[in-house]
């Protein structure tokens, strides 16, 4: 059954992409090529719907619709993996931003030079005495 091999390989590729997605221009180019291939493929299946059945038979799946469903599941998994990564990236950026705001608010200077360790800072943080 070729379909099992194809599905398993696709799933592992998605998992791999999910783990280490290349960022930047190459990633974007790949996404555009995938989109282009999708458009061509979609157009082709509108014009020649029987292609799906032929394709399904070739890989050992009963009907073209089943093959379509498998493809959809894979595409969805891929989407999940990439959006998880993008989300993680965004979260990391927000974290740095929020940390910067928090530290700026209390007004502490930059990390002191190595030699300056042990000296008191010039910027004093507002301190409240402990209440009894």
């Amino acid at each position: 059954m070729w379909i099992k091999v194809i599905l398993l390989v696709s799933i592992s590729v998605i998992a791999l992409i999910g783990l280490r997605a290349p960022r930047g221009a190459r990633h974007l180019a790949l996404r555009r090529i995938t989109l282009l291939a999708f458009v061509l493929f979609a157009a082709a299946s509108v014009l020649f719907p029987e292609v799906w059945n032929a394709l399904a038979n070739a890989v050992g799946v009963g009907r073209g619709t089943d093959l379509l469903l498998y493809g959809l599941i894979l595409a969805f998994l891929g989407y999940m993996a990439t959006s998880y990564l993008r989300f993680r990236g965004l979260e990391a950026q927000i974290t740095l931003l929020a940390r910067r705001i928090a530290l700026d608010e209390v007004g502490v200077g930059p990390v002191p030079e190595q030699g300056a360790v042990g000296q008191e800072p010039t910027v004093e943080v507002e301190r409240h005495p402990a209440t009894p």
């Binding site: 998880y84 929020a98 940390r99 928090a102 002191p112 800072p121």
Partner: protein, 223 residues
């Protein structure tokens, strides 16, 4: 022995009930305490300030790992800071243990001292909690090359070198394993200190569930 060269880093999230007492008590030993208020919806921040802590406030909730990293960066910006201790806000840690850990750093025994519940028999966690913790420990020991008896203990002490080597990216609970990983990668000298955890009803209510350990493991796999 005074500890004015030490900063206690306390991640703070919705602990208004107890934070005043925790800070007040800790300040008897440690004059410098920074509470990182991680977007609490109650008045945790105000109560920590009233108790004499410096409060750094995240504008939004980011998670405990992010709060610890913010606190460490704050402490490292203080030129007089030589030691950094991470300390939980729910009152489950003892300041005596923290002080003993700083004393060992002062003797230059290590760059990092991890608190451990399992070095002696004083702490009595429940069976389920024990199982979760033991799993996390086995996983951490296998992947990080750092061998500890307790990886998810919030009480840790760092000297400046140790604290500066940290860059916690795991915003949520997986930061505990991440800290261990980074200590291993940076080749820091580490040791463990037996500590006693006070499992009060309050801290038990807020503790890690078994489901949370699933989160810890997946976040580690997908780092």
């Amino acid at each position: 022995m005074t500890y004015d060269d030490t900063w206690l880093v306390v991640p703070l999230y919705n602990e208004a009930e107890v934070i005043h007492d925790v800070v007040t008590h800790a300040r008897e030993t440690f004059p410098n305490i920074v509470c990182v208020d991680d977007g609490s919806v109650d008045d945790s921040g105000a109560r920590a300030t009233a108790a004499g802590a410096v409060v750094v406030s995240h504008p939004i909730n980011l998670g405990q790992g992010a709060a610890i990293q913010t606190g460490i960066e704050f402490a490292l910006r203080r030129p007089s800071c030589r030691y950094v201790v991470t300390f939980d806000s729910d009152g489950q840690h003892r300041t005596e243990d923290a002080a003993a850990m700083v004393d060992r750093l002062r003797k230059d025994e290590a760059d990092v001292v991890f608190g451990s519940r399992f070095l002696d028999g004083r702490t009595k966690p429940g069976l389920m909690k024990k199982l979760v913790l033991k799993t996390a420990i086995a996983f951490s020991n296998a992947t990080s090359g750092v061998h500890l008896t307790d990886t998810h203990n919030g009480l840790r002490a760092f000297n400046r070198t140790g604290a500066a080597a940290l860059s916690i990216k795991q915003n949520r609970m997986a930061h505990a394993s991440e800290i261990v990983d980074q200590v291993g990668k940076a080749g820091l000298r580490y040791t463990e200190q037996p500590v006693h955890i006070l499992y009060t009803d309050y801290s038990r209510k807020k503790g890690q569930s078994l489901l949370n350990s699933v989160n810890i493991l997946t976040e580690l796999l997908y780092k």
